[in-house]
Amino acid sequence: MAQHQHASPTPVGGSLINAATLVCGVLIAIMAAILLVRFVFGLGAVTNVNDGYSWGIWVVVDVMIGSALACGGFSVALLVYIFNKGEYHPLIRPALLASLFGYTLAGGGIFFDLGRWWNFWHIFWPGYVNANSVMFEVAACVTAYIMVMWIEFSPVFLEKLGLHDAKKKLTKALFFFIALGMVLPMMHQASLGTMLVVMGGQVNPLWQTPMVPLIYLLTAIVIGYGVVLFESCVAASAYRRKIEMHLLNPMSKVMLGVLAVYLLVRLADLLARGALGEAFKPNLQAVAFWLENLCFVAPFFLIGNVESRRNPARLFLAGIAIMLGGILLRLNGFLIGYGHHTGSGWTYFPSFTEVMVTTGMFSVEVLGYIIITRRFPVLPRENAQVAS
């Protein structure tokens, strides 16, 4: 049996000023300038959202896709704390960090898109809350989840700050927050999909189904593993560390398992509703549909057998494929597949400033990840560490 002895987490160290951080810094500065204009002059001044497509990339990419890509923490926690695969433990902190950042940014990013953002607290206030609204549930769960994740991640800060007693007390109650940190994402990731339901026939039948909460939940879990694959490879390469193949390899098997379940559910749903015909119409939606499912099927060809799973390059590509598939699923449901009737006649394509803000948001995440992994104990200690 593989040994479960793993190195304890340590800051990577090294300089914070390098090409990556500088580029991120510039992009963030541009984003800040654009946001200033947005808050002074309104959404129309910097975005292309219009009456036909009121939700653009700030909602669909920054918030929905951003949060889905942040599901690494949730997926790995499932493995470690529920299925008791303690051997994945070293993956927890980096995955959690990525999740923490992704969700905090998604939550913060909402403010850029809310037209009357100063009333945001209404979404939690009993006098205003509409409990029937899917969006209310998403907002409440995401906010709660962000708080839970900060609590889950606090041992890292407590460690760095040397507050060991506090850390011991926290650890006693940690199991509850960990459990909460799994229920909450299940709820809101599924509900992010349920948000499509009220739009009815405006969403193409390829993506509009009562099964949508299950579809979004399964893809969220699968994306989580994909993101872990992706980030492990990128971080290892960037910090010149070894890739934890002994962890990623078996994890990718789990990923394939969940992926298989998802694809079955998806196909069964399409057949049961007789919606598959839409995939053969000569239009953009059909192309997008095939692209999305190509990405979801690709991992079986990339890492379908034992041999290929030993190749980190293939694992990396499989991770990317899953992420792309998940991204496309959400993009297709809310943007590309949206618009029948009420959107007809309208075109939407993000403006340059819109794209720069989204880019800036992801830059914040990358920059934050770099700063925290270099200065806080997140990644496991490695013998041969070279500061880049």
Partner: protein, 393 residues
């Protein structure tokens, strides 16, 4: 300047003759010709042609018959003032028979008519005012012992042109209002062939005058629509030229006579104005030579559609009109309009750059990972091979 030269071509003598004959100054005369040319919508310079036609000494004969009418059309003509009608019409044309205006009566009058018809055979203009009853063999209207039908057919036989003036002669008018006990019919129906019609109750006198002068000037009648109405006067709906149209477009309507909206001159559509389905030029010309605004709507009463068969004297005055021709502007919103901004160059370029950078980095990383994997596999194979060698060895 060019026009003046054309007019001088008429020669001092001719103009002097006109001054004496018509008793009007040269300037007034030229003004009249210009007015008539404009009324007919003729191109610039045509007023010279009009002047030339009128100055010729030969005055065509006109025979004017009255049947089922109220004489309103004649009265309308009598109100023309630029210049006064008796001077022009009695001098420009030879009005050889007109029951209201001529001095003679009885057998003398009928004799005059017959003589004129014989002397001008094939060359006189026949004007009909009033409808022709056809029931009971036309006995409902007899002049000099002859029925209107017979008179009409007799006079029309040798006429150069037949003009039906007024709604009654044009399509039956008021006498033909249901149940039409006398069978009042239009000139065209009785003759069995289309004629020029100048409908209206009464029509604007200048519509008739301009038609006659056109005939004199060019030797033929002006362009007419399929009902025989001159297009220069009857090709547009009243609604299209109405001065209150802006109120209609903005939804400002008078609801009752005398209410606030009515006092402010709002649209009279809700009071039954038939402008939207009536072809006439009343809003443009006005009546009584007092210019625009002097017409029913301008005075606050809805148009009753007096020129239009099936509308005037048929539809109740306050019944809502049917819109004949909506013809909205091009920018009237369609059911589906193309809107929204597509991809801009900057945006597409930025996305392409991002995608390119990401793809490039991914490809590089994949390659590196692949290479290091291949190296690791080679190492493994080598190290796996060695112990075996050792074992063997």
């Amino acid at each position: 300047m060019g026009e003046m030269n054309d007019i001088f071509k008429l020669g001092r003598e001719a103009l002097h003759g006109i001054e004496q004959r018509l008793g009007m100054s040269r300037r007034d005369y030229l003004q009249f010709c210009a007015t008539l040319a404009v009324t007919m919508g003729l191109p610039k310079g045509a007023d010279a042609a009009v002047a030339k036609a009128i100055e010729s000494a030969k005055r065509p004969s006109v025979i004017w018959l009255h049947f089922q009418e109220c004489t309103g059309c004649t009265e309308s003509l009598l109100r023309a003032e630029h210049p006064t009608l008796e001077k022009l019409i009695l001098e420009i044309i030879s009005l050889d028979y007109h029951e209201t205006l001529m001095a003679a009566a009885g057998h003398q009058a009928e004799a005059a008519r017959k003589d004129a018809m014989k002397a001008n055979k094939g060359k006189y203009v026949l004007v009909i005012e009033g409808a022709i009853p056809v029931k009971e063999n036309g006995n409902y209207c007899k002049i000099g012992g002859h029925t209107a039908i017979d008179l009409l057919k007799e006079c029309a036989a040798d006429a150069a042109a037949v003009i039906a003036i007024g709604s009654c002669a044009s399509w039956g008018g008021m006498p033909s209002t249901g149940p039409n006990p006398s069978g009042a019919s239009s000139v065209a129906e009785v003759l069995g062939k289309p004629v020029v019609t100048i409908p209206g109750c009464p029509p604007n006198p200048y519509n008739f005058l301009a038609t006659v002068v056109h005939f004199l000037t060019f030797g033929k009648l002006p362009e007419v629509d399929k009902l025989g109405r001159p297009k220069f006067a009857y090709s547009r709906l009243v609604h299209e030229n109405c001065e209150r149209r802006a109120h209609f477009d903005a939804g400002r309507f008078a609801m009752e006579f005398g209410d606030a909206g009515h006092r402010q001159g709002y649209c009279l559509y809700k009071l039954g104005c038939k402008g939207p389905e009536t072809y006439a030029n009343c809003p443009t010309l006005g009546f009584g030579d007092a210019g625009e605004n002097n017409w029913p709507v301008g005075c606050g009463h809805p148009c009753i559609g007096c020129t239009e068969k099936g509308v005037g004297f048929a539809k109740p005055i306050h019944q809502l009109a049917t819109m004949k021709n909506v013809a909205p502007p091009l920018q009237y919103a369609r059911i589906v309009e193309e809107q929204g901004k597509g991809a801009s160059f900057a945006s597409a370029a930025a996305l392409a750059a991002l995608a390119g950078a990401a793809a490039g980095a991914a490809v590089m990383l994949t390659r590196n990972l692949g290479l290091s994997h291949a190296a690791a596999e080679a190492e493994r194979a080598k190290s796996e091979g060695k112990p075996q060698d050792k074992a063997r060895g």
